[in-house]
C-alpha cells in the first residue's frame, strides 16, 4: 500500500476545508439576477462613500457596500441603497378579502394577493416563514411591473390588490408605484402589515392606500423584542397614524398561549385601540396554530379567544371577531346598535350580507366600513 506523505495529507486537508467553506458560502453570494432587478430605494441617507443608512423602518440598518438590511430585501451598492424585491413577486394568489382578514372592506370580494421575500421582523410563529425569512434569490419569482399587476387584477376581476403574506413595506417602492397606477383603474390597494415603518415613510404611503390591516402582535415590548425581533412603540404610532390619515383600518391580534394572552395586556391593548382608533375599529383575535419555531405550543384554546373577546367588548369595542375558528359565531358581524347579525361568514367566505348601503337592515344604523367600490 502506498503511504500518504505528510505534505500530501496537508494538501488534501486544505483542499477539503476550502471546498467545505466555498460550499457553505455559495448560497449567500448574490447572483447576477439580483443586479438585473434592483431599483434605487426611497428613504435612506448617505453616511459616507461606502455607507448608507436605511430609514424605511425603525431597524435603521447601517449598510456598507454589498451588505443587506435585516429585511434581506435592501442592499447597499456603490454607496447607494437599492431594493432587491421591486416587482419580484414570489407568491401570487387570489384570496377572499376575508382571509386577510378584512371584514369591513368590500366583503365577498377577492383580492389579488402578492408577496416578495424578506421581512423586517423575525417572528417565531410566522405562518409565511418561507417567504419572510428567505433571501430574494432563494425563491422562485416572477418580475411583474406595477402596470402588469394592475392589468392582471383587472383580468382576474379582483377589485383589490393586497400586498400581504410577508411584510409589504419592505417592497415600499413597488407598492408606492403600483398604488398610483391602480388608482387610475379604480383598483383598491391594501397592505397587511406589521406596522413597523418609520413615520416619514408611513406618512407618505398610508394616505394612498384604501385599507390597512395591522398585526397588533401584543401590548408588550418584551413580546416584540423576544418573539418578533422588533419594538412596540413604532407599531403603536403607525396604528394611530393610519386612523388619522383616514385609511380603513382593521387590527389583528394572534393570541398565543402564555406568550401574549395575559388578560391585563389584552385589556391594555383594547384601551389603547379605543382611545386612539375609536370603538368601531374592528379587532380580530385569531387562533394560533403550532407552526415554524413554535411547534411546541398548542393551538389557542377557543375559550381563551372568547375571554379576549369578552374583555374587548366589555371595554367598549363594537366589532370584535374571533378568527381561524371556522364555524364560530364570532366570525359574523353583528350590528353594534341592535345586535342582529348583518353579515354571516363560513370559513373565509361571506355567505350572507344583509347590509343595505352599509346600513343595518333592521335598525338602519350605519355600520363602519367600506362596503362598495
Amino acid at each position: 500500500m502506498r503511504s500518504v506523505t505528510r505534505k500530501e495529507f496537508l494538501h488534501s486537508c486544505l483542499y477539503s476545508m476550502q471546498a467545505l467553506v466555498v460550499g457553505s458560502v455559495i448560497p449567500f453570494l448574490p447572483e447576477d439576477v439580483i443586479a438585473s432587478n434592483y431599483r434605487q430605494a426611497l428613504h435612506w441617507k448617505k453616511i459616507d462613500a461606502q455607507t448608507v443608512q436605511c430609514n424605511l423602518c425603525p431597524n435603521q440598518c447601517m449598510l456598507t457596500n454589498g451588505t443587506r438590511g435585516l429585511c434581506k430585501a435592501r442592499q447597499c451598492m456603490d454607496g447607494k441603497l437599492y431594493s432587491l424585491v421591486y416587482g419580484r413577486i414570489a407568491a401570487y394568489h387570489i384570496d377572499p378579502i376575508e382571509k386577510k382578514p378584512l371584514y369591513h372592506f368590500l366583503p365577498g370580494n377577492d383580492a389579488l394577493s402578492v408577496a416578495t421575500a424578506g421581512c423586517n421582523f423575525s417572528c417565531k410563529f410566522c405562518q409565511n416563514w418561507q417567504l419572510s425569512q428567505s433571501q430574494p434569490e432563494e425563491l422562485d419569482s416572477q418580475y411583474i411591473t406595477p402596470v402588469q399587476l394592475v392589468k392582471q387584477a383587472k383580468e382576474h376581476k379582483t377589485p383589490v390588490i393586497a400586498f400581504t403574506y410577508n411584510e409589504p413595506s419592505i417592497q415600499y417602492e413597488y407598492i408606492y408605484d403600483t398604488v398610483q397606477v391602480a388608482k387610475k383603474d379604480n383598483i383598491s390597494c391594501v397592505i397587511i402589515s406589521n406596522g413597523y415603518l418609520n413615520k416619514q415613510a408611513s406618512e407618505m404611503l398610508y394616505p394612498l392606500l384604501n385599507a390597512i390591516k395591522i398585526d397588533f402582535k401584543a401590548y408588550s415590548q418584551k413580546f416584540y423584542s423576544e418573539i418578533c425581533g422588533g419594538n412596540l412603540s413604532p407599531v403603536l404610532s403607525n396604528i394611530e397614524l393610519a386612523k388619522k390619515k383616514n385609511v380603513w383600518l382593521e387590527l389583528v391580534n394572534l393570541v398565543i398561549p402564555t406568550l401574549n394572552d395575559n388578560p391585563d395586556d389584552i385589556r391594555a391593548m383594547v384601551r389603547f385601540i379605543k382611545t386612539h382608533c375609536g370603538s368601531t375599529t374592528p379587532l380580530h383575535f385569531t387562533r394560533f396554530y403550532p407552526i415554524y419555531k413554535l411547534k411546541n405550543i398548542p393551538p389557542t384554546p377557543v375559550s381563551t379567544l372568547e375571554r379576549c373577546r369578552e374583555i374587548a367588548l366589555a371595554e367598549g369595542l363594537k366589532y370584535v371577531y374571533i378568527g381561524n375558528v371556522p364555524g364560530h359565531s364570532a366570525n359574523n358581524t353583528y350590528c353594534h346598535n341592535c345586535g342582529k347579525t348583518v353579515i354571516e361568514r363560513s370559513g373565509f367566505y361571506t355567505t350572507t350580507n344583509k347590509l343595505k348601503s352599509g346600513k343595518c337592515p333592521y335598525c338602519n344604523t350605519a355600520i363602519p366600513g367600506i362596503w362598495t367600490l
Partner: protein, 726 residues
Amino acid sequence: MKYNRVFLYISTFFIGISASIAQAIMIRELLMFFRGNELSIGIIMVLWFAGITAGAAISKKIQAHQFSSIAHNILLHPSLVCISLILLYCTPIFYHTYDSFYPLEVELVIALVCLLPQCFIIGYIFPVLVNACSRLTINNPGTVVFLLESLGAFTGGIAFTFLIIQKINPLGTTLILFIIACIISFTVVQQRIKRLAIVIAMVIVAFVIAHSSYVEKKLLSLSFAANHPGTLLEYRRTPYQMMFVAGVDDTIVLYGNNNLYAQFPDDYQVRPIIHALLSTGSVLKDTDILISGDTAFLHYVFAFAGASIDHVTVDPVMWNIVQQKIISIYPDFPSQLINVYYDDTRHYLKSTGKKYNAVIILPPPPDSIMHNRLYTVEFFKDCKLHLTNIGVCIIQIEGFANIMNPSLRRYIASVINSFRQVFPSSLISAGDTIYCIGLNYNRNTDTSNYLSQYIKNFSTSPISKTIRSLVPGFSPQEFKMYFQESQQEYLAKQLQSEHVINSDLLPKGYFEYLANSLKQSSSEAERIITNPLLMILLLILIVILSLWYFKSRGTQHIIFGSIIFVSGFISMATMIIALIAYQNVFGVLYYKIALCNALFMLGLAIGSASTFTQKDFFITRIMVLITGLVMLFCFTIYNNAILLYVSIILIAATTGSFIPLLLNRKTNDIQLLASTLDAADHSGALSGALITPFVLLPFFGIYSLVILIVLGFILIVFKLQNYSHI
C-alpha cells in the same frame, strides 16, 4: 494473580453493561429534548463514537498502574452518566428558548457535553484492559476483552429492555450502576482512606436512589415549564415514549417525546375531517370506521351519529390517560361504542381481515421513520385492501402557506403522488393542511362539482340534523375554504414537476420533511447536513485524518486500522438499515432500541468467541454475513421480527470478529494496537452514522445499500487475506 484476573474479567463485563445501559438511557433522554427522530439518533451516535475514538486514541499513553486506572474508570463512567443526565434535565432551565427545538448546532453542543466524557471513558479503558490481560499472560487478550465487554453490553441491553425500563428511572439506574462500580473498585483499592470514601459515597448514593423519583419529577417539571405553556399535570415513561400531559387554560395537551400530539377539546381542529367524510356521501349510521390518531371529537360525533368505530393506538398507557382526560371534557363520551385495539396501525391492518367503509389516518407529521411509514405507498395499499367497495380513505398532511421551498415541495409531492397512485379517484385540498380523500370507486372528483354536490346533498341527507346538533355552526359551505382555487392551481403546478414517491424502502417524504424542518430552526449546520457534497467532503476529511493517525503508528496500524475503519463503517450502516427496516414494519423503536443493541452486542461476542482458534475462516465469515443480509432482505418482505434479530446477530458476528482476529496477530505493543483498532472501529462507525442517513439512504434506498455493504465486506476479506502475513 488469579484474583487480578477475576477483577479484570468482572471490570470488563461491567464496563460493557454500564456502556450499553448508558447508551440506551442517553438515547431515550436526549430524544426527549431533541427532535425525537433519526437525526437526533444520528447526532447522538456520531458523538458517541467520537468520544470512544478520542478515548481509545489517547489511551496508548497509559502503561503503568493499570488496575487502579481500571478501578477509577469504572467508578467514573456511571458518575459521568448521572451528571450528564442532570445537566440535560437542567438545560432548558438555564438555556431558555421559545423555540420548539434547539438549532442543530446547539443540539450538537448539548450532546457533546453529555456524551463525550462518558464515551471517552469507554474508549479509554479498552486498550488498558487488553494490555492488562496481556500482562497477566492471558491467551488471546483481544478476544477475551472484546468477548467479555460484548457479553456485558448484551446483558445490559437485555436487562434494560425487560427489567429496568419498567421499574427504575434513569437517574436511579445510573446510581445503581455507580454502587456496583463502587463494590468492584473496593476490592482493588488498597488505601484505607479511599475505601472509606467509597463506603461513604455508597451510603449517600443509596439515599439519593431512594428519592430519585422525587428529584427527577422536580427537574422535569422545571424544565418542562421553561419552554411549554400551561402546567405539567403528569408525565409518564411508557414503553413507547416519554409522555407529558399539560393543562393550558381549559384544554389538555399531550406531548410524546416532546412533540405536540394532541389537544382536547379538539372540536374545531377535526371539523375538516367530518366534512371530508360527509362529502363522500356517508350517512354515518351503521358505518364501519377505522380511526388512527389522537382525536376525541371525531369519535364523539361519529359514535353519536351511529357509526361503529374501531380505534387503533399503539400505546395503552397513553390511551388510558387520554381517555380519562377526554371524559373530563366530554362527560357523555361514548367509550362503550368505541372498540380500541392496542396495536400499531400498520400491524393491525396486516393482521385483520375486516373491511371498513372509511379509514381515517391522522398521524403526526413524517418527522421520523416511525411516522413516515403512515405516509408511504405501501401503507396506502394496506388501507385500500381494508376498504369496502364503496369505502374511502382520508388522510391529512402538513401543507404549505402560499409558497413551497424545494424540500417542502418534494415532501408534499411524494406523499400525494403515493396516495394518488393507490387511489386514482381522489380529491386533494390545498393549504396549511392538505386533506386527501381517496375513493375505492370511480367518481367524478372535479373539485367544484364535488363540493357543490356536497353542499346540495347535505341539507337533504338524513344525517344533517344530527350533525348540526352535535357540531355548533356546522355548514358544508365551510369545506370550500380548503379548496381555494388559486391555492389548488399552485399545488397542481408544483406537483407537475415532481414524480417522486414516498416508499418504505426509499422514504423520500421523510428525508425532505426533515430537510424542511431543519430550515425552520435557522441552523447553519443544516447547510452542511442537507448538502450531500459537503457531507462527502466531511467523510473524506475524516478518512484522511484517520489514515494519517494510523500511519503515524506504523505499517501494521495503517493496514489493520483501514480494515477496521471499513468494518466499523459498514457495521453502522447495517445497523441503521436494520433499525429503519424495523421501524418500517413495527413502528416504535423506542421500546426495543436497547434490545437491538443487545443483539448486536451478542453478535459481537459470538464473533469474538469465534477467534479463539488460530484459523481465520474467511469464507465462513463471508457466508455468515451474506446469510445475515439475506435474512434482513427477507425481513423487509415477510416482516417477521425473528428474521431481523437473527440477521443483526449474524452481521455483528462477522464484524465483531475482525478486531479480535487482528489483535491476536503478533505485535510489539498490544495496547497501542488495541488503541488503534478501537479508534478505527469507532471513527468508521462515526463516518457510517454521518453518511448513511443523509447521503447513502436518500440516494440508494435500502436494497442498493445492502449490496454496497456486501461489496465492502468482500473488500475487507480480500485485504485481510492479502495481509495475512503481517
